[in-house]
């Protein structure tokens, strides 16, 4: 290939009109990160739908050709094949708790939701109001709670897009192998098996880790944040880390919208594990033999409407147990 140097760029060649014109026009405007996130999610859904439809169409024609040749039992097969086509917008989460009306937008249509149990699909946007919080359970088992004035898009079973507000993730590694990736306009948060909160306020991203660790990626860099740490990322500023408590008022909103625990048939250790995870406490027994004894106790009844702390006070006496708190430690003893 012949290389010809562009003489118009030569120093001293005079005014470079082309350069001036490009400079005068300025940088091409780009959509902001939140718009990109939202549009990408919507486009991805449409693309998934098209690919699935095409895949089905191809399967259909291949099958039809086979029918022409074999001419055997095809109608039943096709019906079965058709029924196995995955939904274009699969259900990926369930609303587990709702403290007031929230808005769910799907396919450009918004509806108000006031009750738990509603199935949510990929692409749905959930918006909580000034007095509303909600808890969702992702298909993989991860629990997600949304604070007041929060908007998220369920991009997929493993990805949420936080547009603003705060999301608390409880990915109990003992109960779920699924990782959840939270994308925001400032950065992305990844984890496996942990409890953390992601809060987006304008261009400021705050990640509070209560248990385990998370990785945050932004502007091509990656930071790891561990339990008891707050990481603050803001455009144009150096990342900031602070120590935070893993229980107490900072996390109290999370308890307000905790998914209900099914007491009936649960063991005492399972119940205590739920309480301590909800409160950010660690569990201890006053003596080792007590731990073995409570393993065999099965609980009956309901704690519907009670907070974790209230449930603890209601349930333990029925098992002949008491508890006391020492900082973040919950210590279980035999009752008097």
């Amino acid at each position: 290939m012949t290389h010809t140097h562009d003489s118009e760029q030569s120093p001293g060649a005079g005014v470079d009109r082309l350069g001036q014109l490009v400079k005068l026009a300025g940088r091409r405007p780009v959509p902001d990160a939140a718009q990109m996130l939202h549009a990408r999610a919507a486009a991805r859904l449409e693309w998934t739908r098209v690919v699935e439809r095409r895949s089905w169409r191809m399967s259909f024609w291949l099958t039809a050709a086979a029918i022409a040749v074999a001419a055997l039992g095809t109608i039943a097969w096709l019906a079965q094949r058709h029924s196995s086509i995955p939904a274009a917008h699969p259900e990926i989460a369930t609303l587990e708790a709702v403290t007031g009306p929230l808005i769910v937008t799907a396919g450009g249509v918004s509806r108000s939701v006031t009750v738990a149990g509603v199935q949510l699909r990929a692409g749905d946007r959930i918006e909580t109001g000034a007095d509303t919080r909600t808890a969702l359970r992702m298909l993989g088992g991860v629990s997600v709670r949304l604070d007041h004035r929060t908007s998220v898009i369920l991009a997929s079973e493993s990805q949420l897009m936080l547009q603003h507000g705060a999301a608390y993730v409880d990915a109990d590694s003992a109960a779920s192998g699924a990782a959840l990736h939270i994308a925001t306009s400032v950065g992305e948060v990844r984890h496996t098996g942990t409890q953390f909160e992601v809060r987006l306020d304008g261009e400021v991203l705050q990640v509070r880790v209560r248990e385990g660790s998370v990785a945050v990626e932004a502007s091509g860099e990656r930071w790891t944040s561990r339990a008891g740490e707050l990481l603050v990322l803001a455009r144009g500023h150096a990342p900031e880390r602070r120590s935070i408590p893993t229980s107490g008022p900072l996390w109290s909103w999370v308890s307000d919208v905790a998914p209900p625990f099914t007491l009936e048939g649960a063991t005492v250790p399972a119940f205590l594990r739920w309480v301590t995870r909800e409160q950010g406490w660690t569990l201890e027994f006053s003596d080792a033999s007590l731990r073995g004894r409570v393993d065999r106790i099965v609980l009956h009844g309901s704690i519907a409407g009670l907070t974790a702390e209230e449930a603890l006070a209601a349930v333990l006496p029925t098992c002949g147990l008491t508890s006391r708190r020492e900082s973040d430690r919950l210590i279980i003893s035999a009752g008097q």
């Binding site: 290389h3 010809t4 140097h5 562009d6 003489s7 118009e8 760029q9 060649a13 005079g14 005014v15 470079d16 009109r17 082309l18 350069g19 001036q20 014109l21 490009v22 400079k23 005068l24 026009a25 300025g26 940088r27 091409r28 405007p29 780009v30 959509p31 902001d32 718009q35 990109m36 939202h38 549009a39 990408r40 919507a42 486009a43 991805r44 859904l45 449409e46 693309w47 739908r49 098209v50 690919v51 095409r54 895949s55």
Partner: protein
Amino acid sequence: MLAGDESAFESFFDAAYPVLYRFALVRLGFNRDAAGDVAQAAICKAIGKLRTFRGEAALLTWLCTFCRHELYAFHRRNPGRFEVELAEDDREIRAALESLCGSMSEDLDTWLDHRTAASVVQRVLDHLPPRYAEVLEWKYIDDLPVQDIAARLGLRLKAAESLLTRARRAFRDAFHAIAPAWPLETDGRSKP
């Protein structure tokens, strides 16, 4: 992309959405929210019809058709809001932009105000290969020396100079197709 290639989807979206956004932005009075919504609707519609794309038109031209439909729909829903007459929407100019071989002989100053001129320049950049548009922006907007552009692209200096030369030439040809009377040659040099 139709075969389900994830990276193909990502590349398509990253290339197409910002262009559609800018296309809508200048036609919606630079209202960023409205432009984002229109561009999103357009790209979703285009993806839905992707298998009908036969390559007779440039992909960008084809995508902008969807954006135009969404703009009309937007204006129907919001009568009187963000109506912008854009020189680029002139059939002749549009043809020039899209085919890069049209003709228009008026002086740029006489028919474009600054913002419209800027949008036309930006549209010309959108029609260039993305790498060309990037290097022109780095060179003339960010004032990056060619050495830095070379480093950013992982190229040797000569290769970066060559790329910049090709980018300038492509831009000049495209822009000349729209405004042939507008001199882009450097002052002090005779026109070819």
